[in-house]
């Protein structure tokens, strides 16, 4: 008894008001008409530029050439203009500049980070990579061989196989059912012409979103934007994509692999990012499986029963479909029990909802921890890209905690009833799970 009282005292003493945090985001339009969002921050002599070309990720991969966007992303910084691969990479490396590209399902992203004293040279290199990549035979062969090695290796990773199997089930006829990095056959089939063609179609001003953070003023930024992006083709306007529904059997699939620990992935439909209930769902997910140590799934599966090291759930909204996704891993002997507890908890929350206390605690976590995301230049810039991408508004960072604050226990429980579908929770287990077989517990 004493213990509990003292614990409460410890908490109450320090429980204070929500964290107030505000930043100033400017919209900058360059002389040449390129738009970017900017946060000026002179605390370090660095500049971070994050950008994405919407819709032009693995979406554009033709059938039989899956992995095209991904392979291209690894090659456009392997030589451009007059600089071959060694010259290009050497110049970046010697000045500690970071330039990287990545292909997602729904977009092709890029990231630039440099000390300001090397920035001009770096911007020219970024421009060259976007407009005049070389695709010389040596780096193409080398990077392709590395990608193939990775693809092969992943075939023996139970978590990767669980994810791949689940996505293929949920999206049998949709590109989300294919992996962004392709297969050994499709990656081997990609030609230099395919990659050149991809860069011409994908890198357009109409699909470009840019965010800049660092020791740079709005006046400096305009010419920088034109220097990097100014001579990209205009391209076609981005159109809203059609939504698709995941195919949710609610069943269980076992994939055999000789490993001592089974990997478990699970998913059901989730809210879209634009859904007004997205914030209530964010609070609900924190309580269900998003809150690390504090979630229902962690409490029931890890803390009480010692079944896993990690179990989680997360919202996974994408352009054309949205999921409520999660994962866990447990010894083969306990996979059945883990799946049972997972399903029970999912149903419990769907049917009985959560408590007002849980909602309050989730909100103070979600609002209080938000400023923790704003301590690294590149990361802040990537947040700004995401906000533009989802069309959340230039003042979103300053409004975001109010949106979470506004969520009531009633909202959360309404959303639990509306979205959580325990009968449609599809599960894939990869390993040698005792007592489990495809299509439900045996």
């Amino acid at each position: 008894m004493t213990r509990i009282l003292a614990a409460l005292a410890l908490v109450v003493t320090f429980f204070s008001a929500p964290v107030a945090y505000a930043v100033d985001v400017q919209e900058v339009i360059s002389p040449g008409g390129i738009k970017a969002w900017l946060i000026e921050d002179s605390s370090l002599p660095v500049t971070a530029i994050e950008f994405t070309f919407r819709e032009h990720g693995a979406a554009l991969d033709p059938k039989g050439k899956e992995g095209l966007a991904d392979l291209t992303s690894s090659l456009i910084d392997e030589g451009a203009g007059d600089l071959d691969s060694q010259a290009f990479q050497g110049a970046l490396h010697d000045k500690s500049m970071r330039l990287s590209f990545y292909a997602g399902q729904d977009g092709f992203g890029g990231s630039f980070y440099s000390l300001n004293r090397y920035r001009d040279e770096g911007l020219d290199m970024l421009h060259l990579a976007l407009t005049n990549p070389r695709f010389d035979a040596e780096p193409v062969d080398r990077i392709r061989s590395q990608v193939l090695v990775g693809l092969k290796q992943r075939q023996t990773d139970p978590n990767f196989i669980a994810h791949k199997t689940l996505m293929a089930q949920l999206f049998p006829d949709h590109r989300y059912g294919r992996s962004t990095d392709g297969t050994p056959e499709s990656v081997s089939a990609i030609t230099v012409d395919d990659m050149r063609d991809f860069t011409r179609r994908a890198f357009t001003r109409k699909s470009l979103i840019v965010a800049v953070v660092g020791a740079v003023t709005a006046d400096e930024l305009g010419p920088m934007l034109d220097r990097v992006f100014g001579d990209l083709p205009e391209g076609k306007p981005v159109v809203d994509t059609a939504k698709t529904d995941p195919v949710l059997s609610g069943g269980l699939t076992v994939v055999d692999m000789d490993v001592p620990q089974s990997a478990i992935n699970f998913a059901q439909a989730g809210p879209d990012r634009s859904d007004p209930d997205f914030y209530a769902a964010t609070v609900l997910n924190y309580i269900l499986g998003g809150g690390g140590f504090s979630s229902r799934l962690t409490d029931e599966i890890r803390e009480k029963r010692g079944l896993v090291y990690s179990v989680y759930s997360s919202l996974y909204p994408r352009d054309e479909a949205s999921l409520w996704f999660g994962g866990a891993a447990t010894r083969n002997a306990k996979a059945k029990e883990t799946v049972t507890v997972l399903r029970d908890q999912w149903r419990e929350v769907a049917e009985k909802g959560v408590t007002a206390e849980e909602v309050k605690n989730a909100k103070t976590y979600l609002t209080g921890s938000y400023p923790l995301s704003f301590t690294n230049t590149s990361h802040i810039a990537s947040i700004l890209v995401g906000i533009q991408r989802e069309d959340l508004g230039i003042d979103y960072i300053n409004r975001r905690n109010n949106l979470i604050e506004a969520v009531t226990p009633g909202d959360v429980n309404r959303v639990a009833k509306k979205f959580l579908t325990p009968d449609k929770l599809s599960i894939v287990v990869v390993g040698r799970p005792d007592g489990l077989s495809t299509d439900g517990p045996s």
Binding site: A7, V149, Q155, G291, F293, V308, Y309, Y365
Partner: protein
């Protein structure tokens, strides 16, 4: 709590460690420090970019301090530190941090154990108070210990048993260290984790968890005087303990070449490594460490480095190749090499090509230009290391926990800049002209049934 890390001494672990140390230590963090009367050191790095702080408590005790037969004890205790204390119910620590918008975790290595939270700066007092509470008031019950033991065994399955590379590392370390406890894995052998008793855990906790064996490091939006006052208020009253004398582990001469090979059906990409002892920051010749750091950088940093360029780009023999150097740990420093052959290339052919590059370097030396570019990179990266809330705290905490000083960290860029061409070439000659007595590892796919048959026939 939760997603506890432990730095298993495997290849990638080592590699990352070296990279991060190389990057992070170059910074001039301008820390302020004070030592409390009970011996606890307090270190503060100001960073007012966002209204947040990182709070870390480092204990100068790690897996290498475990009694014989009790492997995994330091890491198991780390998990249990999130259970109940005299004034907190089990789980209350984490729930309180989360309710206040904080994130937290902990990690255990061979050398030290650290606990950390990131949280709004106006809640620093809360997490300091919580850490002081669990430094001395941990209360364990079998109901807390038993499920957590299963969690640790699951962690072991995730990190080691499901991972052929990590399994090789566990098998290989006893061949690298004849004497030093680094031969035993941080997470522990499964059979010994199962045997750890409540008394083992409590004894270890009472022996090593005390202010005079701990360092508080706070980085973020806070003034040093404020942190010193909070440390005085919450940690100040805690009594120092008599810390046991710890063995000085000395490796006997290593004369034999050792090779350890693991074959596994799940390996699709073979890999090879070689590692050897080298002078580190703790050795009498610690200046040699800075030269070796430049050497490793020239050999291995980026795709224009010597080994990647020669083996991967020009000779097209490997998909990856490089070197690493780990100068700053309580135990012996290590220098190593790794490679992975391209498909269809024999692993021994790549190994021969790697040693040929090393021999070429020893014979002809590196160039002044390579040294200059390497030093510039490391100094630039010292500035970039400030672009993080937690990195200064991690770098300083790790250095102090292994017995280095704040000056060692703060003067790192200067010491690196003093490294000359001759220093690098002499260090390379002394270390690499005769590479014997080290450990070679191979991770290979399972032998095909047909080749087994041939062998048997």
């Amino acid at each position: 709590m939760t997603f506890t890390k432990f730095c298993a001494r495997n290849f990638t672990g080592l590699l990352l460690l070296v990279l991060s140390v190389g990057l992070a230590q170059a910074a001039v963090f301008n820390p302020k420090t004070k030592t409390l009367e009970n011996g606890m050191q307090v270190v503060v790095v100001e960073n007012h970019r966002a209204p947040v702080v990182t709070n870390m408590v480092w204990y100068k005790v790690g897996a290498m301090d475990e009694p014989p037969g009790k492997s995994g004890l330091a890491h198991f205790l780390e998990h249990l530190m999130f259970k109940g204390t005299k004034n907190l119910a089990p789980g209350e620590f984490s729930a309180t941090v989360a309710r206040n918008g904080g994130t937290e975790n902990a990690f255990t290595t061979q050398d030290y154990t650290a606990y950390h939270q990131s949280i709004a700066s106006d809640r620093l007092e809360l997490v300091i108070k919580l850490e002081a509470e669990r430094m001395v008031n941990l209360r364990l019950t079998p109901e807390d210990i038993e499920p957590e033991r299963q969690v640790v065994l699951e962690e072991r399955r995730s990190r080691v048993e499901n991972n052929p590379g990590a399994r090789l590392s566990e098998q290989a370390m006893p061949a690298l260290y004849f004497n030093h406890p680094y031969r035993i894995p941080v997470i522990g052998w499964a059979h010994e984790i199962k045997g750890l008793s409540q008394q083992d855990i409590v004894d270890f906790y009472k022996t090593y968890y005390a202010p005079n064996n701990a360092i508080l490091v706070v980085a973020g939006d806070v003034k040093p005087e404020k942190v010193f006052a909070l440390a005085e208020k919450y940690f100040g009253p805690l009594p120092a303990v008599d810390l046991p004398e710890r063995p000085t582990w000395v490796e006997p001469p290593h004369e034999a070449d050792r090779e350890v090979t693991l074959r596994d059906a799940r390996v699709t990409q073979p890999s090879w490594s070689y590692r050897m002892f080298a002078p580190g920051y703790h050795s009498d010749d610690h200046k040699r460490g800075y030269a070796l750091e430049v050497l490793a950088d020239i050999l291995s940093s980026g795709s224009t480095s010597r080994l990647y360029r020669a083996l991967v780009v020009e000779q097209k023999l490997a998909t990856s190749a490089g070197a690493w150097y780990d100068p700053d740990q309580r135990g012996p420093a290590l220098f190593g090499f790794y490679l992975s052959p391209r498909e269809g290339t024999d692993i021994n052919a790549v190994k021969t090509a790697l040693w040929a590059e090393v021999d070429h370097l020893v014979k002809d030396g590196v160039t002044q230009d390579e040294v200059d570019r390497s030093i510039r990179r490391m100094q630039d990266n010292a500035v970039l290391a400030l672009d993080s809330l937690s990195r200064p705290a991690r770098t300083l905490g790790a250095a102090l926990a292994i017995g280095m000083t704040i000056d060692d960290v703060e003067n790192w860029p200067d010491r690196i800049s003093e490294v000359t061409l001759e220093d690098v070439n002499r260090a390379a000659r002394d270390l690499l002209s005769d590479h014997h007595g080290g450990l070679e590892t191979r991770l290979l796919p399972a032998e095909k049934a047909s080749s087994k048959k041939e062998k048997g026939a």
